[in-house]
């Protein structure tokens, strides 16, 4: 078990200065971060490292004692990303801690080669993991921004349209992947509740391919809608998709499907007790009107 940690605890000030000197020499981005902020961030990291509870060992990266340090690095990484640092620069910030640490350990334990080796290996491994963790956080932060943007785009690109009182339609456009389908389906079910619609038409004219996973999601959505008291009709099934569905052995027995959205709409109107009739030309203003029965 390495007591490099004790070394850190007893020499925080000196270690901090060495570390900052190293950063200034190699990694300085004066344009992105100022001296004071860099110093305070680095001091915070060393402080979190030093204040790991007694018994926390460098070899056990998963220990809960390292959680505060990990969280600090995650938020530091996030702010670095915002400031414009690259992932490598952010990782190098952590990795540059090795050099002053090794130097310090050698000064304190220079006598025994074996002990020195053991300490160096433990610290080396630990700092590597910290750097990787920092990079992961950076990427994770960026991923979250991307997925939030995707969701917003999703909401804009798949609006649920009210075709008539109690009949909504969801025209899907583009490739459906598993995640997107789930989001879209949830919003359809929400819309059904909000608009009090007994019928929901899911039009997939704009969807190039359907695979088993997407088909399963569609079927789950239809079942969920049914549990809520609404009926789904799938329309816009192109011949290729029809073939794929049969080839994949997807069972659409209980599902109403129509080739065209218009047919689906007509069915929904009929099922909700309405017909569309053409009014004879007696000089009336409209040639056809939907009549409630």
């Amino acid at each position: 078990m390495a007591n490099a940690l004790d070394v850190v605890r007893k020499n925080q000030e000196g270690l901090l200065n060495e570390w900052l000197n190293g950063i200034k020499t190699n990694l300085r981005r004066r344009d992105l971060i100022d001296e004071r902020e860099l110093k305070s961030q680095s001091a915070e990291v060393l402080s979190a490292l030093a204040s790991a509870p007694a018994g926390t060992s460098l070899e056990d990266f998963k220990s809960s004692g390292w959680q505060p340090l990990k969280e600090l690095l995650a938020s530091l990484s996030a702010s670095r990303a915002v400031q414009g640092f690259t992932p490598s620069e952010t990782a190098l910030f952590v990795l540059s801690l090795k050099s002053p640490l090794f130097k310090l350990i050698r000064e304190q334990k220079g006598n025994s080669a074996d002990q020195l080796y053991a300490e160096i290996v433990a610290v080396d491994d630990f700092v590597d993991k910290l750097a990787l963790h920092t990079t992961d956080s950076y990427i994770h932060g960026r991923d979250q921004v991307i997925s939030r943007q995707q969701e917003e785009m999703l909401e804009l690109s798949t609006p649920v349209v009210t075709l008539w009182d109690g009949i909504v339609a969801l025209p899907l456009i583009g490739t459906l992947d598993s995640a997107r389908t789930q989001v879209v389906m949830e919003s359809l079910l929400q819309a059904i509740v909000q608009t009090n619609s007994r019928f929901a038409i899911i039009d997939i004219t704009g969807v190039p391919t359907v695979d088993t996973l997407v088909a399963q999601h569609l079927l789950k959505t239809i079942t969920a809608a049914r549990l809520m008291g609404a009926e789904c009709i799938i329309s816009g099934i192109r011949p290729q998709i029809a073939q794929t569905i049969v080839h994949l052995g997807i069972n659409l027995q209980d599902v109403i499907t129509k080739a065209k959205l218009a047919d689906a709409f007509k069915l929904a109107l009929e099922r909700s007790g309405r017909t569309v009739t053409r009014v004879a030309k007696t000089g009336g203003p409209t040639p056809s009107t939907a009549r409630e029965q």
């Binding site: 998963k62 220990s63 809960s64 959680q67 995650a74 963790h133 992961d136 956080s137 994770h140 949830e186």
Partner: protein
């Protein structure tokens, strides 16, 4: 199971009102971890299923709710344990539609579908421990 446990809460499962309390506490935890409404519903429903199993099949036991961290992602972990008769055929119990004398029905397999990770340790005459995790 992956991840490090940060904090926990223990709840006894001794009668059916305990199962209601389990649902409420799991809901509070899932909400504080900011899971979406649908995810919260799945987590609480899984807890209800497994809590009932612990009571009906296991003769009573306990639940440990935990917040867990794995690298970046956060999750909720539920560990149900009992000192009951154990499950003789886990594969059978996990298959849908299977109902033992005490009526496990969809509970076990269903919970597995509702969560991201599922683990079960059981031995006849000694008891069962079911651990499930859902990540954000």
């Amino acid at each position: 199971m992956t991840g490090t446990v940060i904090k926990t809460e223990e709840l006894p499962i001794k009668d059916s009102s305990d199962v209601v309390f389990v649902r409420q506490r799991v809901r509070v935890w899932a909400n504080s971890l900011k899971f979406s409404l649908v995810d919260q519903t799945k987590i609480v429903t899984a807890a209800s299923e497994l809590g009932r199993n612990t009571l009906e099949h296991g003769g009573g036991g306990a639940l440990e709710i935990a917040e867990t961290v794995d690298g970046i992602r956060r999750g909720i972990r539920l560990t149900f344990s009992d000192k009951g008769p154990g499950i003789e055929d886990v594969a059978l119990a996990l298959s849908d539609g299977y109902t033992s004398k005490q009526g496990m029905g969809l509970g076990l397999g269903g919970s597995k579908r509702l969560m991201n990770e599922f683990d079960i340790k059981t031995s006849l005459g000694e008891g069962t421990v079911v651990t499930v995790t859902r990540w954000k």
